[in-house]
């Protein structure tokens, strides 16, 4: 699989949403000391209103904040399809709270004051995960784009070829000559940038997963 997207080179970014300014400042400094760029926000609303860079990211989110609480915001994010991995930090956490957060897909739930290594580990895991997610999404976009360049004839041939039919059978099914099938097949393999039938089958599976 080729990776031609540009996202990999973007500098990862850590977002911090906490209502306490000294917690924000100290977290930013801590991240800076390990060479991580970060942006800090005093509330979930500020975060939503900000222009965010297009980069792999993860969100360090305080649970207890005036206005929208961290847990509520997590729900909002799911609804708005914001897929940034979330690490919760809280000054007083209880078990039901952490269970709720983890069930909703949080990466980690840390109680303040936490060990820096726990936070840094969680952040690095979150950034890795977001990077992977972005790559998968980018690959898919690319696949779709390529699939879009196929003409109708090529698309038909592709559908039948990946279902396991031989050229001869495809030709019979479509009522065209075997040579035509071969030509279309060559073109679609080039356009899809697939080096083998196996690769093409995988690509078609991915496209189907998305359509589902």
């Amino acid at each position: 699989m080729s990776r031609t997207d540009a996202h990999d080179t973007a500098e990862p970014m850590v977002y911090i949403v906490d209502d306490d300014s000294s917690v924000r400042a100290s977290l930013q400094d801590l991240l800076a000391s390990v060479g991580l760029a970060s942006m800090a926000f005093g509330s979930a609303r500020e975060f939503m209103q900000a222009r965010l860079p297009d980069a792999p990211a993860c969100l360090v989110l305080d649970v207890r904040m005036p206005g929208v609480s961290g847990l509520d915001f997590q729900q909002d994010m799911a609804r708005l399809n914001i897929l940034v991995p979330v690490i919760f930090i809280t000054a007083h956490g209880d078990i039901p709270m952490s269970v709720k957060a983890m069930k909703a897909g949080a990466l980690e739930f840390l109680t303040k004051p936490f060990r820096e290594q726990d936070l840094l580990d969680a952040i690095s895991l979150g950034l890795d995960r977001d990077q992977l997610r972005r790559q998968t999404a980018a690959t898919l976009d690319e696949l779709r784009r390529r699939h879009g360049t196929l003409n109708d004839g090529e698309r038909e041939v592709m559908a039948l070829v990946v279902s396991g039919l031989l050229n001869k059978q495809v030709a019979a099914r479509l009522g065209v000559s075997e040579v035509t099938v071969k030509v279309r097949r060559g073109a679609l393999m080039r356009k899809m940038n697939a080096d083998s039938l196996a690769t093409l089958v995988k690509m078609s599976e991915k496209l189907k997963d998305v359509d589902r």
């Binding site: 007083h92 303040k112 004051p113």
Partner: protein
């Protein structure tokens, strides 16, 4: 001890019932003295458990019937009607009195339960918000310290950044201590309003609040207050709060004690070494080894549903009154909590 008291009360009631029956017997049938048996029932409701009250009531009815049987003078038809009225009165009174005392008992229990819940909720909320407030600067301090260490570990060390981190640590440390200072200020908000009080009156007023609880738990209260104690200059509510706290702990400790003789709460007050000395002791399970030092710590409790605040608050009250509070194990079983208050003379000028 309790058993003899119970027997004594029963005998007195029986005497009263017999007396009424005797008068009923010697008077004419037309005079329904038997109705006065309801007095016996009403007294019994105050002194005895429900089942015993029912027994007393039946005994009164039997006595009324017997006295009708043996009364020599008067119209027997009127006598029969009078007896029936007496019996109905006794039965009705018993029923109503028992219902009333059950209702009162329920009200007491519900009120105590509600008070407990309210207290626990409030303290839980308080603890949670204190934890939140104090943990914020602590988290910032921890983060800044880690950052500082990393800036210093750089090659070459990034001293300006490290210095900034340390400055933030200092600021957050002060912020944490400000929060704690504010909390202490809040706790002290209700400044004690001290007044001259009589020791015996204060102790008895506090213990009166426990009468229902003691009765319900079948616990005997023994109060010994030395005669002629000097008055004390204290905040009445606060000192009563301490006494109630200690007494409630003792009652809780006695809850599991089955032996009737041990179900006794001892409260003493006296003058020792120039100080007023109070003690509250029970014969419950007592305290384990290191509990002696820890029971006065906040949030430390030996009770499964305890908040660990009662004794901590008691200690701060006593210390605010220049007194001392401590606990000792009793030789046989249970614990005794002691506290002292300064014995002030009202007019120090006269002493010199």
């Amino acid at each position: 001890m309790r058993r003899t008291q119970l027997t004594l009360r029963l005998l007195l009631l029986l005497g009263l019932a017999l007396g009424i029956a005797a008068i009923d017997t010697v008077t004419d049938l037309e005079i329904a003295v038997g109705v006065f048996q309801i007095v016996v029932v009403l007294i019994a409701v105050r002194l005895l458990p429900a089942r015993a009250v029912a027994g007393v009531s039946v005994a009164c009815m039997v006595l009324t019937i017997l006295s009708y049987r043996y009364t020599r003078f008067g119209d027997s038809e009127a006598g029969l009607i009078n007896v029936l009225i007496s019996l109905a009165a006794i039965a009705g009174t018993t029923y109503l009195a028992l219902r009333l005392s059950a209702a009162i008992g329920t009200v007491h229990r519900t009120r105590a339960h509600l008070a407990h819940i309210a207290r626990v909720n409030m303290l839980g909320e308080l603890a949670a918000s204190i934890a939140h407030e104090v943990n914020q600067p602590l988290a910032a301090v921890a983060n800044s310290s880690s950052a500082c260490l990393r800036w210093m570990a750089n090659d070459p060390p990034n001293l300006p950044k490290a210095r900034q981190a340390v400055e933030r640590i200092l600021a957050d440390t002060h912020r944490a201590s400000d929060i704690i200072a504010r909390l202490r200020g809040m706790a002290r908000h209700q400044a004690p309003t001290k007044q001259w009080l009589n020791v015996a009156d204060t102790v008895n007023a506090a213990l009166r609040l426990l009468a229902g609880e003691l009765n319900e738990q079948n616990i005997h209260l023994r109060v010994q207050i030395q005669e002629g104690l000097p008055p004390m200059l204290v905040d009445e509510v606060q000192i009563q709060q301490v006494l109630l706290n200690l007494a409630m702990n003792a009652i809780d400790a006695l809850r599991q004690v089955d032996d009737d003789d041990r179900r006794t709460l001892d409260v003493r007050a006296g003058l020792e070494a120039g100080q007023l000395h109070f003690s509250v002791s029970d014969q419950g399970k007592g305290l384990a080894g290191n509990d002696h030092e820890r029971v006065f710590d906040a949030f430390y409790s030996t009770k499964p549903d305890g908040m660990g605040m009662g004794l901590a608050i008691s200690r701060s009250i006593i210390e605010a009154h220049d007194g001392r509070i401590w606990v000792a194990s009793n030789p046989q079983s249970g614990a005794t909590f002691h506290f002292t208050l300064p014995a002030v003379t009202r007019e120090p000028d006269e002493q010199n």
